[in-house]
Amino acid sequence: MRFDTRPVQDAVPAVRAVGVGRTFGKRSKAVDAITAVDLEIAAGEFVSLIGPSGCGKSTLMRLIADLDAPTSGTLQVFGKTARAARLDQEYGIAFQQAGLLPWRTVLQNIALPLELHGMPYAERAERTEQLADLVGLTDFRDHRPDQLSGGMQQRVAIARAIAEKPRLLLMDEPFGALDEMTRERMQGELARIVARTGAAAVFVTHSIPEAVFLSDRVVVMSPRPGRIVAEIEVPFGKDRAELLRESPEFFAKVTEVREALHGAPVERANER
């Protein structure tokens, strides 16, 4: 099966945030979820947002997805406003909860975006089969979500997110609820899928090894107010084998990210 990738000809960054802030509440009760975030993500680049709870990493992702609006700064997705990018379906998204529709089968859940956007039935069926195969769920195609394990549900959600070959993937702790073994296998599958589609990705996570294994760059955030405190390049290339997890370079990067996290001025280990 082939997965055609769109050429990365555009120099337009996938995400460009300048001085982005989001404040919840008013006046004395106002809380800065994130403040003065400058971030640029190139087309095809995999970026992880990592940080303790409450550092605003999910908020930032929701702003990029236009599920929420910034209270300050400017945010562009592929050179458009976040809203225009959402309406143009420039991104695919997966949440911590799979968010599947319980009355639909695996195939029908994967097909949802295609169905909503009016892809003809025959084409849709073919594409959906491909996607089910890609995430290894062909044998479960007619199962309902409540008959699937958590890992399988999450794979359906990822297949749904990439159904329309988006140039940008947004993922909010998609493996957060999975056990460690399933989690590592899913990371491997995600790395393979993303390498094949050539999409840029914003990946929110709590896990340092997960961030290092998947990312071209790890963005470390710190809470109260949520902001970016460090950015660490992870130059391991696009084709990453499982063996990478056991290499000294991998451990060195994990340590680097950990130190950036703990060295953040406000937070200490007790937050984690």
């Binding site: 997805a65 236009d66 599920l67 959402r86 309406l87 379906q89 991104y91 998204i93 949440f95 909860q97 968010g99 529709l101 319980p102 009355w103 949802l112 975006p113 169905e115 909503l116 956007h117 309902r144 409540d146």
Partner: protein, 254 residues
Amino acid sequence: MSPTAERTLRILMPILVGVLLVVAWWALSANQGRVVLVPTPAMVGEQIATYPELILKATGVTALNALVGLGLGAVLAIVLAGLAAWLRIVDWMLAPVVAAVAVVPIVALTPILNTMFGASSQFGRQLVAALAAFVPIFINVLRGLRQAKPVQRDLFSSLAAGGGQTFAKLTLPTAVPYLFTGLRIASSLAVISALVAEYFGGPANGLGTAIATYAKSGKASLAWAHVVAAIALGLVFFLVTVLIERIVARRIPA
């Protein structure tokens, strides 16, 4: 307990209870000597065998009243619940009205409606059934329309789905099991309400009228025969609703 034994017992036990009840009824009516008040099961059975057409006709009238009422109440409840789920302000406007309708005494309302629509019209009775059916359906559908999870709403928003698409593909399917919970309750209520409404006036037909007439004129056995028919009718309404629910649930599991 093995699954087969459990299944057998589940069928046998209700039958046993039924048999026990009939035996108790028999013992009560036989020993009492005042057969007029409590006829034996045999006497009631005999009446059913003797006047099947009479009983069926009365049952047909009540069934139609209950069905029209159930349909009317359901349509009204679904439309209004849809509006209330869509616009907060409609919900605020309707909440006290629904609370009031829920506590309206059918017994008190019936004579007024019967007078309003005339003694020859069934519509007053149907309206009573509709009011009774409306409340559980409205409450359940409104709750069901609000059960879509935030993550599902976010998903539809991220997919740039329009309001109509979100309603048709997320909000409505989520509410379907709740609709059936409401319908199950409302189906029996509609039968009971139609019957009670018939009891309190209007045209001289239907199970309610028959029970009232025969009980007062000393034909207790025939009155009880109509009561049996009323129970059967209520069960039929309930079972048909459950059956439709099963068929739909196979397509849309909760």
